[in-house]
Amino acid sequence: MHCRRVRSFLSAYCRGELEGKQARAIADHMANCPACRGEEASVRDLFKLAEELPSTRVSADFNSRLLNRIAEARHQETRTKAYLPKGVPVFTVNRVAPVLAVVCFALAFVFAGGLGNFQGHDDPLMALGEAALDDSYLTVQPVNEHWAFQKQLNRATRIQDLMGRIMGQSSFNSFAGQTDWIQSRRPMIPVPVFIIPSTGSQHFMVPAQPETLLIREVNADS
């Protein structure tokens, strides 16, 4: 056997993992080769050191913390089972949560008007501010008809409240004579329109920057 081949088996040889003919061939080679004996010594050193490796231990309260976690898991398991008739499969939160998330997302997507609502401008209110308003924009959307509409309505109401706070209650009152809702051709994008009773002019608000509102007058023609 050549030195190179012997050295490739050396660690297995030192661990006693070789048997029979192969082990004997290496032993014979070792007897006559001082260089390989030197290598053998370094392999044996490595194994000796591996036994002396610093040990890493878990903290002293490991078992008690683990038992607490198990007790918690068992408690949850029994609670869930206790309220269900026998034979009914038990669904844990971990199993049900992803399914629920997908269902909620699908419902929200359907109620939001499908893909149509996600095309065009990112912010529908911004889009409305940029667009020239004409009669076709001014359609009245009945309140509570739709969940997504209600969401937009809440948003519009928040803008209205904010407006009141910015301008002070007294000036807000002058705006509050009548509130109408503009519905763009894109579904479910109502914005509050304030009609000032003294002049009869209509105003609407669009968020221009974060925390900034633009007040624009609706075209006299519209």
Partner: protein, 200 residues
């Protein structure tokens, strides 16, 4: 204790755990917690994270106790769970890369690293293991530190037996090469030889 006796005792304990015996579960925990900690810690290099992984491993063992297959070794099962959890943790780390001060380039850092270089040989080996590529590290730790049989290492790592043997062999030879200069220094010092200044 030989492997066969250990396997038999593990099976006895897990059977009792399946029947709701928490004392047996505590015994299993005591039997494996430090062994798992030694491997997981060397994979993650973080005491806290390693301990969390080991806790999670035992929790999973408890939760899935009824699905244990008595044809296999319990140790294979528990090591597989722990190492899968540790690998997931490593994958998460790759996604969110944290920068360590020692990763930064510069002479001051290099000096700092040199200053904390361990002097005693087992610690040098520990550092060398830390620097091994993951696949070699795991094979070496399971075979030569945990002393699992090759067949069990192959099952835990889910790779063929021949691949395990070659990885273990490769890891041993990398470590031997890394230890050589340190060992020579240490031998020279013990014999009172004069060393070049660069080695001091």
């Amino acid at each position: 204790m030989d492997k066969e006796t250990e396997k038999h005792q593990d099976h006895e304990l897990i059977r009792r755990v399946q029947n709701g015996d928490m004392v047996a579960f505590n015994d299993i925990t005591d039997r494996y917690k430090d062994r798992l900690m030694n491997v997981v810690y060397r994979m993650l290099n973080s005491q806290q994270e390693a301990e969390d992984i080991v806790q999670e491993t035992f929790l999973r063992v408890y939760q899935h106790r009824q699905s244990f297959d008595f044809r296999h070794c319990f140790s294979t099962w528990i090591y597989t769970i722990a190492l899968n959890l540790a690998r997931n943790e490593l994958r998460k780390r790759k996604r969110f890369k944290f920068f360590d001060i020692f990763d930064m380039k510069g002479s001051e850092t290099e000096i700092a690293v040199e200053m904390v270089m361990p002097t005693n040989l087992p610690q040098v080996l520990d550092r060398a293991i830390e620097g091994l590529p993951e696949k070699y590290k795991l094979a070496f730790l399971l075979r030569d530190v945990q002393e699992l049989p090759y067949e069990e290492v192959a099952r835990v790592m889910n790779i063929p037996l021949g691949t395990v043997k070659s990885r273990v062999n490769r890891a041993r030879s990398i470590l031997r090469d890394k230890l050589k200069p340190r060992r020579e220094e240490s031998n020279a010092l013990s014999k009172g030889t004069l060393l070049p200044v660069s080695l001091l």
